[in-house]
């Protein structure tokens, strides 16, 4: 019994990084479809639409700014738009296009950009 519990715990722990990596990869793909136009190919807030924007899009590599926001806030901003966190209307609400799993994957990718790439 103890052995099987140990096995289960080991397997579960082993799966966490894999699941996280899958989430980040999926988030990166979605980011390239829905976000790069404003946030930039590299995620530095320098997308092709930037010259038309009155507010600079968030630089997702900005560790200080990004760590000041919880995952829940990032999720809310993506799902319900910038207005929902008292930010710009230029950040649209994507909740009608993406499901919650998609948005969680995007948050994982943003966390990867800001805080796990050594920038």
């Amino acid at each position: 019994m103890k052995k099987s519990l140990l096995m289960a715990a080991t397997l579960a722990l082993g799966c966490i990084p894999l699941a996280y990596a899958d989430d980040v990869a999926r988030g990166e793909k979605l980011y390239n479809v829905y976000c790069v136009q404003c946030h930039g190919l590299s995620g530095h807030g320098d997308g092709v639409n930037v010259p038309a924007l009155s507010v600079q899009p968030r630089n997702h590599h900005d560790t200080a700014e990004m760590t000041a926001r919880s995952d829940e806030e990032l999720f809310k901003a993506v799902k319900h738009g910038g207005k929902s966190i008292n930010k710009s209307v230029l950040m649209p609400a994507w909740g009608g296009n993406l499901d919650d799993d998609d948005i969680h994957a995007l948050v994982s990718h943003m966390r990867n950009l800001c805080c796990r790439n050594g920038e």
Binding site: G40, D46, G47, V48, G81, S88, G95, N97
Partner: protein, 232 residues
């Protein structure tokens, strides 16, 4: 894989600036020359997932008859101009630069020009593709008026449409199609229906589903009418 690339290259070369040879019928012409880039039937979006959007080379045409103004379509096919400054999939058509990402013209695909006869036949065939009669039938938009200043504010400040779209040449975002000729190109009910629920038309659209009410949709649509009618 190599064969696939060769085929794709041949198709692209074949779709160059030279007019496409007229096939036996418009449907055959469309199916042989257009299907490489345009969906003529509804893709299985659910099975293909987001990769479908990444791989897309041109707008879907299986609801062309619900979308376009036929006279405009026939004219455009003879003289195709770029409506989407950054192409159909912006991430594939831009490159990084020192300040911000810029459009890489080398990555944009030119649309072939058809002869007048081909354009007439192709436009007639495309207008028969009406997968979304249901969405048009459900739409209740009636064209109206809006003051230009109010329309501009509504388009930019209140709804942020200018982040991706331009409402006059040289002003607005580049990732979405220009909208100053939208009224000339598109059917009014399509415009209103698409603004209200773009995902119903295209599950992988890059246009956010805003949840705007009928009045707000009508105000935006009336603004596109106003600026579209100002165009030559």
């Amino acid at each position: 894989m190599k064969q696939g690339i060769l085929w794709a290259a041949l198709i692209l070369v074949g779709l160059g600036s030279a007019p496409v040879a007229l096939a036996a019928g418009a449907e055959e012409l469309v199916r042989t020359e257009c299907a490489a880039c345009h969906a003529l039937e509804r893709p299985d979006y659910e099975a293909l997932g987001i990769q479908e959007r990444i791989d897309r080379k041109g707008p879907p045409l299986y609801y062309a008859g619900n979308k376009f103004q036929p006279e405009w379509l026939e004219s455009w096919l003879q003289n195709p101009t770029r409506l989407r400054p950054a192409g159909i999939f912006p991430a594939a058509a831009v490159k990084e630069s020192e300040e911000f990402d810029v459009i890489d013209p080398d990555k944009l695909i030119e649309h072939p020009a058809l002869t007048a006869e081909q354009a007439s036949e192709v436009a007639t065939y495309l207008m028969s593709l009406r997968h979304h009669d249901d969405l048009i039938a459900a739409n209740t938009y009636e064209p109206g008026t809006i003051a230009k200043r109010m329309g501009q504010l509504n388009f930019s400040k209140f709804n942020g449409c200018d982040a991706c779209h331009s409402d006059e040449p040289g002003y607005g975002g580049l990732s979405g199609p220009e909208l100053y000729t939208a009224w000339q190109r598109l059917q009014p009910a399509f415009i209103a229906s698409f603004i209200a629920d773009p995902v119903a038309w295209d599950p992988h659209t890059l246009m956010p589903k805003s949840g705007l009410n009928e009045g707000a949709v009508a105000r935006l649509t009336n603004y596109l009418k106003l600026i579209g009618e100002e165009q030559p």
